[in-house]
């Protein structure tokens, strides 16, 4: 099943067709908060790619070796996964702040923001237990670790791509002649709507 073509489709599917931000609506809180300026969204996307991969690997391991065999996964997966993600983020943040303050300055400050990010939990659960989110690229009964990683990389790349393109748009937005009442957030929403129209279009290319 895991020919290179299959993996490539998995990656593109997760990144563009089912872009987690603009076509699945997951992870919008930081999307509108952080995209205010360009640098923060760059740092944020890097941090998301890094943490999401770590999170998905750990949830995949915990699911296949701990929760699934014991049969308790069905109702314990929410607290278990979110506990792992929160502790993982806190650990990485402490580690990074101590070991490399420079990297921490650039990327580390976004780490806590990722604990409450719906996208990370959604992808971690999807990588561990496919089909739960009914993403329309069906991932088969269960993902091998390699496929789970590729899937997560795809999703985080899509997240970063959407966030950065939206941040660039928003910088232009501040100077656009917009009626007073629409200034700021409402206008950001309308732009996000247009951007998501484009992403829905991308899905069309692939005949989905």
């Amino acid at each position: 099943m895991s020919t290179v073509g299959q993996l490539a489709l998995l990656f593109i599917g997760a990144a563009l067709i089912n872009n987690i931000l603009l076509t699945r609506f997951i992870g919008l809180c930081p999307f509108f908060g952080v995209s205010g300026n360009f640098e923060t969204s760059l740092g944020m996307s890097l941090a998301v790619v890094f943490v999401m991969t770590l999170a998905s690997t750990s949830t995949w391991v915990v699911w296949t070796f701990l929760l699934e065999p014991l049969g308790v996964g069905e109702f314990l997966y929410i607290p278990a996964f979110i506990l792992i993600i929160a502790s993982l983020v806190q650990f990485v943040e402490m580690y990074m702040r101590k070991v490399s303050p420079v990297l921490y300055r650039a990327m580390g400050i976004y780490l806590p923001l990722i604990t409450t990010n719906c996208a990370v939990l959604a992808t971690a659960t999807e990588a561990a237990k496919p089909g739960f989110f009914k993403m329309n690229i069906d991932l088969g009964a269960s993902l091998g670790l390699g496929e789970a990683l590729i899937y997560t990389l795809g999703v985080s790349a899509g997240f970063g791509f959407a966030l950065i393109s939206f941040a660039a748009l928003r910088e232009r937005l501040d100077i656009a002649p917009v009626p007073k009442v629409m200034k700021g957030n409402p206008m950001a929403f309308i732009t996000a709507g247009l951007l998501s129209l484009a992403y829905v279009g991308i899905a069309g290319w692939f005949g989905l």
Binding site: V72, E74, F75, L76, P79, L83, K134, M135, N136, L208
Partner: protein
């Protein structure tokens, strides 16, 4: 050392209480959930095969053969529909074609000659109001009944799709088409009903 010990205890105690509570709720609701799923399956089978009295699982051998026949569409259950006196009335298939929002699980009723007696949708996650029209537009599911016995993908061409939700209608059509393939490859020679 004492301080961090207290921290760990606090977390562990919360986990114990939470896990205990969740386990109890899970047990309380487990049977009801199973019941719901079985019930949904039961009456969807009844709607597609009205004159069948009872549905018998066709056994894992038949299921594997059906899954190979259906190949890209996954088939999760095959039932033998038998009437009161035990004679074979037809087959109930649970197949899942891929729609826009994800897999669309269908229950497909075929009579002993392989003609479609009915199609109902078990679960789907299409966009409400657009994709869900495959269910709300009665003519769409009814049109599968006109398919001849032993239909194949050629006959499927004439069926028309719902405007605005081509992907969802194609998902349903793939499911039914897979049912046709299962019938011609696997079920037709079982029609003798051992």
């Amino acid at each position: 050392m004492g301080k961090s010990f207290r921290l760990i205890i606090a977390v562990v105690v919360t986990c114990v209480v939470a896990a205990g509570g969740l386990a109890v709720t899970y047990l309380a609701t487990k049977d009801r959930i199973a019941e719901q799923v079985r019930l949904a399956e039961e009456n969807s089978l009844k709607t597609v095969l009205p004159d069948a009295a009872e549905f018998v699982d066709a056994g894992s051998g038949v299921l594997e053969a059906a899954q190979t026949a259906a190949d890209d569409v996954d088939c999760s259950a095959v039932y033998r529909a038998v009437s009161a006196d035990g004679s074979l009335v037809g087959w109930g298939l649970r197949v899942a074609g891929r729609g826009y929002g994800g897999p669309i699980e269908l229950v497909l009723g075929l009579d002993s000659t392989g003609k479609v007696t009915g199609v109902t949708i078990l679960t789907m996650s299409e966009t409400p109001g657009l994709g869900t029209k495959v269910q709300s537009e009665e003519w769409f599911l009814e049109q599968f009944k006109q398919l001849p016995e032993g239909f194949d993908s050629a006959d499927m061409k004439e069926l028309d799709t719902i405007s605005g939700s081509t992907k969802s209608s194609r998902g349903v059509r793939n499911g039914v088409e897979a049912g046709g393939r299962i019938y011609t490859d696997v079920l037709s020679d079982l029609a003798g009903g051992e």
